[in-house]
């Protein structure tokens, strides 16, 4: 097994876990099981918190600043990426006080266009790589794919794990792949997409989360957005627990990114509550929590207007993606 490139000084327990295939398996299967009923109930319970007025305004602005504005369609054009970049710079043109989004997320061949549009704005350019969304290709192609995106100027790479290998128990292979992609990323941040919709159980989600963290992923991300179910609250809870435990054991902060299926402000606020309660308030920043979304931003902007103007807004008053 290749050595992880980050975390040179892992605590002994974790260093031991990544020593070889067998110990990695022992470690992952030794993780405590997830109480399914408990986590779902807690997620539902926290979802009922009422966030109003000033807190709601704060939540909306925070959520906007955490959005990875995404377009991952076969029909993407350079023009669409340019307009997306314009929206990322200034989400609501009539209200310049709206914060910028965290990043724009595109396919590797669109990175160049996005870089040109976003130079000097401080907005990150994320690119999916490694044979997104299925991850079904050779390691060589995946590394090339990553290098292509990084060379084009991507500052964040969203990789998919090989779910087939993970589900058939070849954890070492998945681990090696992440480590090598991380190496190919260089300075770029790596987000590891677990595709929780295909992992079937919360136990698997917990194992995949730890696998991603051990291998050096800066973020763990729920899904590609191409598989249903995409991000759900309980799954995000499990992943937030993993990054919190990682922090307790190593002192490092790693991030979480739910993606896909988060369309309304109400949903976004539920996620923020979960971040605050499960991981902790220091995770409430775009460096450690992101939303992978395209339609969510419009709803956030409409809700923001509703708060400020005192009447309901409509989709005619925000830009169409």
């Amino acid at each position: 097994m290749a050595a992880p490139t980050t975390s040179p000084s892992l605590p002994p327990a974790l260093a031991d876990a990544v020593r070889d295939d067998a110990s990695l398996r022992r470690f992952l299967h030794g993780l405590p099981g997830v109480d399914q009923v408990g986590v779902e109930q807690r997620a539902a319970g926290l979802g009922t918190r009422s966030i109003k007025k000033a807190s709601k305004m704060w939540a909306i602005d925070t959520a906007i600043s955490m959005v990875d504005l995404t377009t991952l369609e076969g029909a993407d054009t350079h023009g669409k990426v340019r307009s997306l970049a314009a929206k990322a710079r200034r989400p609501d043109p009539e209200r310049p006080d709206v914060p910028k989004v965290a990043a724009v997320c595109v396919y590797p061949d669109m990175v160049e266009t996005a870089v040109k549009e976003l130079e000097g704005t401080g907005i990150n350019i994320a690119s999916v790589a490694t044979a997104f969304p299925s991850g079904r290709s050779s390691l060589k192609v995946k590394l090339e794919d990553t290098a292509y995106a990084v060379d084009a100027g991507a500052t964040e790479i969203d990789m998919v794990i090989d779910r087939g290998a993970f589900l058939s128990g070849r954890y070492g292979q998945v681990f090696d792949e992440i480590v090598q992609v991380k190496h190919a990323c260089g300075d770029a941040h790596l987000k590891v997409i677990l595709e929780t919709g295909e992992l079937a159980t919360y136990d698997n989600v917990r194992r995949a989360s730890w696998l991603g963290l051990l291998a050096g992923g800066d973020f763990i991300k729920t899904s590609t957005g191409k598989v249903s179910p995409a991000a759900t609250l309980p799954v995000t809870h499990v992943m937030l627990q993993a990054v919190r435990d990682w922090h307790t054991q190593t002192g490092e902060h790693r991030g979480v990114k739910p993606a896909g299926g988060i369309r309304t402000t109400k949903d976004a606020i539920k996620y923020l509550v979960a971040v605050h309660e499960v991981a902790g308030p220091e995770w409430l920043t775009a460096d450690l929590f992101r939303f992978g979304a395209s339609t969510l931003l419009n709803d956030l902007l409409m809700q923001r207007r509703t708060q400020l103007e005192g009447h309901y807004s409509g989709p005619d008053y925000v830009t169409v993606d």
Binding site: H311, Y312, S313, G314, P315, D316, Y317
Partner: protein, 287 residues
């Protein structure tokens, strides 16, 4: 079994083809003309209005895009189901408006006939209100009436069924979708109408019925940026100016209430025309 206790109903709202309780959890007792208890109706809140507008917006592309013929067929089907509920409507109209059964019968019959009358207009309105325009140039120019969008309808307070149908049918006949705030004190015929609509072929969300206090819900609909037009017929006199003012904030089409409108009179095209936009196309002719 004369001492049987009748089952008192607690009705719900009609939003997006479903019957949800009010988000606020409130309901209010509905009494007949003499003050006797009839049923409980849901007391809709601003958030119910918001949900209803979202449902109406969602239903709009499908309903406005349906062929006029198809819309007509759907509305005829609604008339069939209305006819099947005739007895129930007569009882409710008689109780809530305090009229004799004979009078209630004629009101219900007139209401069903009115619905059929508007159903017939779906595929005729384009030829009557649109047409080819004579122009001095090598163009073919024609005008088409198109639906305005989501229409908030404040249903008449007095005429609980005939008035309701007279304001709702023309709105949806032309392809608009509607958020209807029923008569505040006489909501039962509106609730039954929503049960009729739910069991006919009308797609969910085309008509959404809110019961509750008109004065509470109306301002939220008037100021809502995703509502395109507002029918003030049932608005309390004192609130009309304010409603019109806030409707102007998002440039809504507003239909003003006529003073003491008599719904038993034969209708004209005014209500059909009220929520239509005219699209004119200039088409260059080939040589």
């Amino acid at each position: 079994m004369s001492d049987r206790i009748s089952v008192a109903k607690t009705y719900k709202l009609y939003i997006g083809g479903a019957f949800p309780r009010s988000e606020s959890g409130r309901s209010y007792p509905v009494v007949d003309a003499k003050g006797a208890f009839l049923a409980n109706a849901a007391q809709g809140s601003r958030k119910d209005a918001r949900d209803a507008v979202a449902a109406a917006r969602k239903a709009f592309p499908g309903w406005s895009g349906a062929t006029a013929y198809n819309r007509g067929q759907v509305l005829y089907r609604v008339a069939e189901v209305l006819e099947g509920r005739r007895e129930q409507f007569i009882t409710e109209v008689a109780a809530s408006e305090g009229v004799a059964v004979k009078k209630a019968q004629s009101l219900v019959d007139a209401a069903i006939d009115r619905w059929v009358w508007y159903a017939g207009w779906t595929d005729k309105v384009a030829t009557v209100l649109g047409g080819a325009n004579p122009v001095a140039g090598p163009y073919f120019s024609f005008s088409l009436p198109e639906p305005t969008g989501v229409v908030a309808v404040l249903a008449p307070q007095q005429s609980s069924l005939l008035g309701l149908i007279s304001v709702v049918a023309p709105v949806i006949a032309t392809g608009n979708t509607a958020v209807v705030v029923s008569s505040q004190d006489r909501p039962l015929p509106a609730v039954t109408l929503s049960e009729v609509l739910a069991t006919s072929d009308l797609p969910g969300g085309v008509v959404n019925v809110l019961t509750g206090r008109t004065a509470e819900i109306a301002p939220w609909l008037a100021s809502h940026a995703d509502v395109n037009a507002l029918d003030l017929t049932g608005a309390p006199e004192s609130t009309r100016a304010d409603l019109e003012r806030s409707a102007a904030g998002t440039v809504k089409r507003v239909l003003r209430a006529r003073p003491s409108e008599d719904f038993t009179r034969e209708p004209d095209l005014a209500r059909l025309r009220a929520f239509l936009e005219t699209k004119t196309v200039w088409h260059p002719m080939g040589v």
